[in-house]
Symmetry: C2
């Protein structure tokens, strides 16, 4: 592995990077950070659309052949709940979803005309080591480890959760394949937020700290069909939800001990 | 009127222009030329998305208050035929439609966050002086004036035709209003291509030159609801179809005489 440092939002730096590396294969994950409550409407989403189009142009001009980009489940119309790549209506309502969906629409046509092979991985609900401490799984892990009350919604909304390590293997599998178009990057499993919280309660023995509250106004069901990823790419997730949560809990325990040691 | 020359696809020139003019109101019509058979999939559509986002940023940074952009009826899903701004599904299938629709999605959020007033005029089927000679009305006018056979499809597909002068007054009316969101720029009338061709045949007395052919594979019906433009903006078209075609025929006759005089 060779690392190159560059600010991809700076068009000149981005172009120079593509000239130096001249990659045949390109996995594009860079975007504004998914800080809870901010990234959905962050105007940086627009800057990343512009930057990504500029990068794609440089990729194409420097001999690029195969590109895989990260999209999002927020491209789908969540009123339909069960998300299938080539069936479910795409009608994003957030700037994040609009930006990703717009980028895909433009790149798909661009790639087709330049004979570049393009796949688009629509990421569902990730959790695991390294995520923002205020996101759902991270905040539950931190509270339960520290013995603090964890406030939740009623938690009836069901989501498709995937461990971040499995998302990584899915993107690598996509990059190494020749398959084109949109692929859900997800587990295909529907778990309620309440089930997930209770699993963490059992794993820590502190289910008593979970306080479920008011009904959530969120979409009741957002789950992926993963047939394309499974059948066309041959990818399978390594972590079932409980195993993935255990791994994540252990990571937060280590972080916590590290914090206590250094303070 | 003061003219400024600049290549808007050159980010530095575009930014400098916005700095020099620092407009409070901005009507953005610039895009790649609508050359029949080319513009639907022209990759320049993507460059115009990038350029338009850069221009909008410069407009905002230089004190801009009100912007009106040209969108397209190709943003709608034509399977639904009757196009209403806030009802009909938006599912463009061409790069031109995707590019315009993507730009609107991004700008709408950007404008809202920066308190810029934004309207988006979705242009339907324009005709009139100055259009590309191979477009429908232009090619029919030229053939009938010159006494040449005019080959058409069966012509049963119905469209919403608008004279380009009326499109201009609609955009000016939009710019001078405070209304936001999408507005169809159209006549609201449904005429078949066959009806239009026959009107030109009658106006020239050369209907015998019209040769209608095979059924068209195109969408059977693409017509706008113009209630928003009429009721919220108070705009009315000046030209009914026949009057608009007469005006256009006269313009092509003058062009033709000019050609004959100069050759």
């Amino acid at each position: 592995v060779q690392w190159h440092a560059a600010d991809l939002l700076d068009e000149n730096q981005a172009r120079r990077l593509m000239q130096i590396v001249a990659p045949s294969h390109w996995l594009h994950l860079a975007w504004c950070p998914t800080i809870p409550g901010q990234f959905w409407s962050n105007l940086e989403n627009i800057h990343w659309v512009r930057a990504s189009l500029g990068l794609f142009e440089a990729f194409e001009q420097n001999g690029g052949q195969r590109a895989v980009f990260a999209g999002t489940c927020a491209e789908y119309d969540w009123d339909f709940g069960f998300c299938r790549e080539n069936h479910t209506l795409l009608r994003p309502t957030t700037l994040y979803g609009i930006a990703k969906h717009s980028l895909h629409g433009l790149l798909r046509e661009w790639a087709a005309q330049k004979a570049i092979s393009l796949a688009w991985g629509r990421v569902f609900f990730l959790y695991g080591p390294g995520e923002h401490p205020n996101k759902l799984v991270a905040s539950l892990c931190r509270a339960l480890i520290k013995g603090e009350i964890a406030h939740c919604s009623e938690g009836t909304q069901r989501r498709d959760f995937l461990h971040v390590f499995d998302a990584a293997t899915a993107f690598v599998a996509l990059l190494e394949s020749e398959a084109q178009g949109a692929f859900n990057v997800a587990s295909g499993q529907a778990n309620s937020v309440r089930e997930l919280a209770q699993m963490l309660g059992e794993l820590t023995g502190r289910g008593d700290l979970l306080k479920f509250g008011l009904p959530s106004p969120e979409a009741p069901f957002v789950v992926a069909d993963v047939a394309r990823l499974r059948d066309e790419i041959g990818w399978m997730p390594r972590y079932a939800l409980e195993a993935g949560l255990r791994q994540t809990l252990n990571w937060w325990r280590e972080m916590n001990q590290h914090d206590e040691t250094t303070h």
